[in-house]
Symmetry: C2
């Protein structure tokens, strides 16, 4: 089925003329999927279903709003709470009580945490965590692992072209990051304790924080996080866990609770608001209190929708044990990928925790294979890519019909690879690779 995408493609062109990069988020660029055939824009979305500007209907088996929509799109319970807050006024010269309630709720879910600051986006909440860690310790350097956003403190890792950082965070260009930050952010790899030990050896007295995602592609090695914790204690560094991607995926709260990690600060966004902008920095009292030694303040952090949505999301998440469900759905998809790739003689590497699953095509032209997959799935009525983020709105029926279509798409890609006409079958261009994460 050839899709009519005229309005969607016109809107993409219009956007490219007035918005550098077309969108505010790398992961939502059509280039990340299949340029020329990916619709890019939606008119409405509900549950796991999306309608584009040309009226095409899809089941979304892709990135779930890049992980923002953990419950599903336009969730009725979160919407109802938000609309009530709109009727009562979302902003005035006084503060809203919902942020206090949310702070208490987050501390209840994470009993080691005692104080909370809020922001509205993931990047800025990580910048707050870093500011607090630096203010608390009086030190500047950050040892980090994983992806933590667009801010200067993080991209500075790529300022020195000969560092590990430049190698591992390929695609994150630090243009415009002040050169005075060179050497302040030093990367190490997940489960490679000796890399962190080497950083500590060299910069022991200068490290303000050790910053990590709790989990992404692989499980932590036995004892790995205990060693990180011990190192943080030894050198007086603040141990910051970035839960922006992993939080509220496998459990109601941070993945660190499941993995037995003991951080000093944890940072949440994305899933926290189910698509409404909110971010939270939670932490131990003495460390969080350092926020008062410095200046961290923004008008739009005081509005009511963000904490209202977060409270509604958390309550529903907890009541329905959403984390368990997301793992089940993710496992169904990962198992489907495995079986269907074998059946169709396609080599793929599958990774990620089940709620944040991905696979990588193995072959001479993986980006063309990805684009053809995206294109074939669109034509079968699915937003789909090599990433799958599960939502509570996904049903096993969604997975069933999705996997039937994946089977056909894999068969055609396999056929195209064997007959060598992969690119001839593509109606758009190959996907871009985006940036390589540091795992």
């Amino acid at each position: 089925m050839k899709l009519n995408l005229k309005k969607s493609l016109d809107m993409q062109n219009r956007a490219r003329n007035c918005i550098p990069g077309m969108t505010q988020l790398l992961s939502k660029r059509p280039d990340m999927f299949a340029p020329g055939v990916w619709p890019g824009y939606f008119s409405h979305a509900k549950g796991a279903e999306v309608w584009d500007l040309d009226g095409n209907h899809y089941i979304d088996m892709s990135i779930a709003g890049i992980g923002a929509n953990v419950l599903g799109y336009s969730d009725i319970d979160v919407n109802e709470a938000v609309k009530k807050s709109i009727d009562n006024g979302t902003s005035c010269s006084l503060n809203c009580t919902e942020e206090v309630e949310l702070a208490d709720l987050l501390c209840e879910l994470h009993p080691w945490a005692e104080m909370v600051r809020f922001a509205r986006t993931g990047g800025e909440s990580m910048a707050i965590a870093i500011r607090i860690a630096r203010a608390y310790t009086g030190k500047d350097k950050i040892a980090f692992c994983g992806y933590h956003g667009w801010h200067d403190w993080y991209l500075s890792a790529n300022l020195e072209t000969d560092t590990l950082g430049n190698h591992l965070l390929a695609g994150l260009d630090p243009a415009g990051v002040p050169k005075g930050l060179a050497g302040t952010a030093i990367p190490f790899r997940y489960n490679q304790i000796e890399e962190l030990q080497a950083i500590v050896m060299q910069h022991k007295e200068e490290i303000a924080a050790i910053v990590m995602e709790p989990i992404r592609s692989e499980q932590p090695k036995q004892g790995f996080f205990d060693e990180v914790r011990a190192i943080a204690n030894e050198i007086g560094a603040v141990f910051v866990i970035d839960e922006i991607s992993a939080g509220f995926r496998m459990n109601t709260g941070g993945a660190h609770l499941l993995l037995g990690i003991s951080p000093d600060i944890a940072v949440f966004s994305k899933a926290l608001g189910n698509g409404y902008p909110i971010a939270a920095v939670i932490g131990k009292r003495d460390i969080m209190d350092a926020a008062q030694k410095t200046f961290i303040s923004s008008t739009n952090w005081t509005e009511r929708i963000g904490p209202t949505a977060a409270i509604a999301m958390i309550e529903k998440h907890r009541k329905l044990n959403v984390g368990k469900y997301l793992i089940e759905i993710g496992n169904l998809v990962q198992n489907g990928w495995k079986n269907l790739s074998e059946k169709n003689d396609l080599k793929i590497n599958i990774g990620g925790i089940p709620p944040l699953s991905h696979f990588i095509f193995q072959g001479n032209n993986p980006l063309a294979m990805k684009s053809l997959f995206v294109q074939l799935m669109l034509e079968k009525g699915f937003l789909a890519s090599t990433l799958f983020y599960s939502m509570y709105a996904h049903t096993s029926e969604h997975v069933d019909v999705y996997l039937k279509s994946v089977d056909k798409a894999f068969a055609e890609i396999s056929d195209a690879c064997h007959s060598g006409d992969l690119e001839k079958r593509m109606k758009g261009k190959p996907a871009s690779s985006g940036f390589k994460r540091l795992n």
Copy 2:
């Protein structure tokens, strides 16, 4: 009338236990008004009216959500547009068209601008503007005037205790700002072209941007901004105008349009969303395109409410000529302050553009005078302080009843000053001074 504030004061104590600083915004701390008598929290707000947690009703003649609510609280037209976007889903794996429409609308209002990036808060949008300017020029230093938020690039001005910055931005502690940024942000004062010239003399080849608010307390001197523009051209610096406070106050768009300023980039937030989080960086094409040389990306920047609210706000603002109205209301208030202070033998200094007016008590104990004023006005049913930000929801009747109460409050403060029992009449503590802005 003694107000019952039990629930409000309990909530403040609860908040202080779990949120460092109690709120996300310095300007919304009860300390900034009258600690112990300022309610701090609201249950609902509509137009210019606010109800606190104990059911007390106020007309808000204070900070209008610190300038966020330019139309008024819970504006029916903006709310209606936002609720429609909620029903259609505010976030999914695709992009919303409203950000493209808003980008075009902002470029229509500001014909010199061609491209737009969005964020959700003022501070992060200024950080984007700085990143773009640095990426475009390949330089790091910023010459600035005025207030521009909590981010590292700005607070770094206070890292060297002997700079002008430290003196003029008293109260903005740079704890936690990396020391490698020392010397990268250099302040100059409004209308003091020779201070900018001196910075240029010393750092000519290194200046990425000249960053200013278009107006705050005083009018620009004839030719001042032309000279700034000429200097920016001469040294190849990006001229950034921060419209976060001044934008949409006197006209539909940036104040720079009224003042004949020709920037390369302008930044909006606060009023732009009438209380819904949204921020925009608008600029010339070749400069904005530098955003693609670096990495500026965030999930929550892609949701639909922000641009929806901004479009609805701008359309209403333009249709009703809200800027003209805000000036009229502001002038009524400033004239009232002037007449009533003279009548009651109180010395005050009045300043600010009419929509963002303020006065400063002159006397031995101005912070106690301010706190007593806040307290007396609360007891008369007004949220009021020494700042007055006008909203479209303010009517001349609001101003009339407000000024009648100001008259009585000024009379009592004058009496208290003469009889020397200012502090005895206070039920709370004196206000904090907050930070001193660089004008």
